[in-house]
């Protein structure tokens, strides 16, 4: 993907090189923490797939991968219903060392729900790794064990993060122009 700015993008927040370097550093931390163990990375669809793939490549302990997805708050039928697992894990996590991989943590709502759900499935350990942390918007306090970047309170896209399902495939993280988000 070209690094030329696309329409709707205000500025690049993290370049491909910065992302690569930071992911390598976080992967090293994780490799040290889980030395001698097998790690199960659980990615939250869809935003985390780019980050999870890049992270997994640099982790030096044996890694298993699984994904889950949760229902969206937004739907066409009006009332949003309740959050639920829309795509469950393919395999059990009982007894596994699980690292939940998120693209971004902001309010903490989603992460809280996921941690509650996964904790009930008897993993050996459960930790959280997020690509981006927008701590300024946190409402629910949730544990974040590994974080690549803390970001300001702006709407960002790229490297898995979307706006209306677009921009996920950008190699960098960029700030959206506010006027484009109407």
């Amino acid at each position: 993907m070209s690094s030329a700015l696309l329409p709707g993008i205000e500025r690049i927040l993290f370049t491909e090189e910065e992302i690569e370097a930071r992911i390598r550093a976080v992967a090293r931390e994780i490799s040290t923490a889980y030395e001698g163990r097998t790690l199960k990375l659980v990615g939250v669809l869809k935003g985390s797939i780019f980050f999870l793939t890049a992270l997994a490549r640099h982790i030096e302990v044996p890694v298993k991968i699984d994904f889950l997805g949760i229902s969206s708050f937004s739907n066409k039928s009006g009332a949003p219903g309740l959050v639920r697992i829309a795509k469950d894990l393919d395999e059990s996590i009982e007894g596994e060392d699980v690292l939940l991989v998120e693209d971004i943590v902001d309010t903490g709502f989603t992460l809280r729900y996921l941690l509650q759900t996964l904790a009930g499935r008897a993993p050996n350990s459960l930790a959280v790794c997020t690509f981006l942390d927008r701590n300024s918007r946190r409402i629910v306090q949730v544990p974040v064990d590994y974080c690549c970047f803390e970001i300001p309170d702006r709407f960002v896209v790229g490297f898995g993060l979307d706006y209306n399902q677009l921009y996920r495939n950008l190699g960098y993280v960029a700030v959206m122009k506010p006027e484009k988000m109407i």
């Binding site: 937004s74 729900y113 409402i139 629910v140 306090q141 109407i182």
Partner: protein
Amino acid sequence: MALIAVSGHPGCRFEEVARVTAQRLGFELLTQPRVQSLAGEEFGAETHIPDKAWPSLVTSILARLATEHHIVYCAAGGELQSRHFPGMLRVHIVAPENVRIGNLMLDWRLERSAARQKLFEIEAADRSARKAKFGKTRPTAEMFDLVLNAETLTSEQMTDLIEKTIETTGMKERGFLSSAAEAQLQFQMRLRLARYGIVPPDKITIRKKIFANQSEEMFANLLDFYRIPWEYEPRSFPVQYDRDGNPVESFTPDFYLPEFDLYVELTTMKQSLVTRKNRKVRLLRELYPHINIQIFYQKDFENLIFKYGLAERPVHT
């Protein structure tokens, strides 16, 4: 938990499929008359249930039963009710008009012309009831997981297919609805029912929540979605006193989240008002340092709205 919602075209005997399925799987059968009976037990036999309150009433009853049973729910609109629950199978049974007229002839001992007239009447009543309760006159195929044609399949064969689907999806193995999930659902449903004056006879009527603006309502919806209990403007904090120690100015945060002991204030107003509100929050923090409060500014909230994909911007005041 497993919730099988069975509905169908009038005259195609979907009630029979629901009954046989419930018997064979050992599930609890919930029909429209049973809902009315349970509602009478809960809220008093004389309580009038307006059409618009029906979905919330059924969800409340389903949630209560779902903590101890897997359920077959057989009534129009079941496919819309079941979306609140984690393990659902929405079954719709259809049949050509001739088959349905034939069924009515047998079931009601009618001549063909009378059965045809009966079918039209039932269909009209069904459309009218759906419109009143759910705002839709008829369901469409994409609302269902299984659509079965009773022209060629018997009730037994349709039950076989439903049973096989339940087995394949592992819905029965998931266990019943957790009491925490039930509590969340009941909280929402009881709140909605209270707006229609439907409350258990021994309970205090819940105050109608009138949100100051659309953003607050959206935020409440978001909290509901994530099953996070909330209270709307539950407490006012005096932040200025006169010389005699009487409060002259108070601050009432918009939401309180008891699970996190956190107050949330949404500020979706123009800058001068934001400044005034910031001052109140600062005073609150000084006077009540043990109180946790989080402010959500307009741009925070808009980003949240964008993130969760809501089409409309919140109201600007």
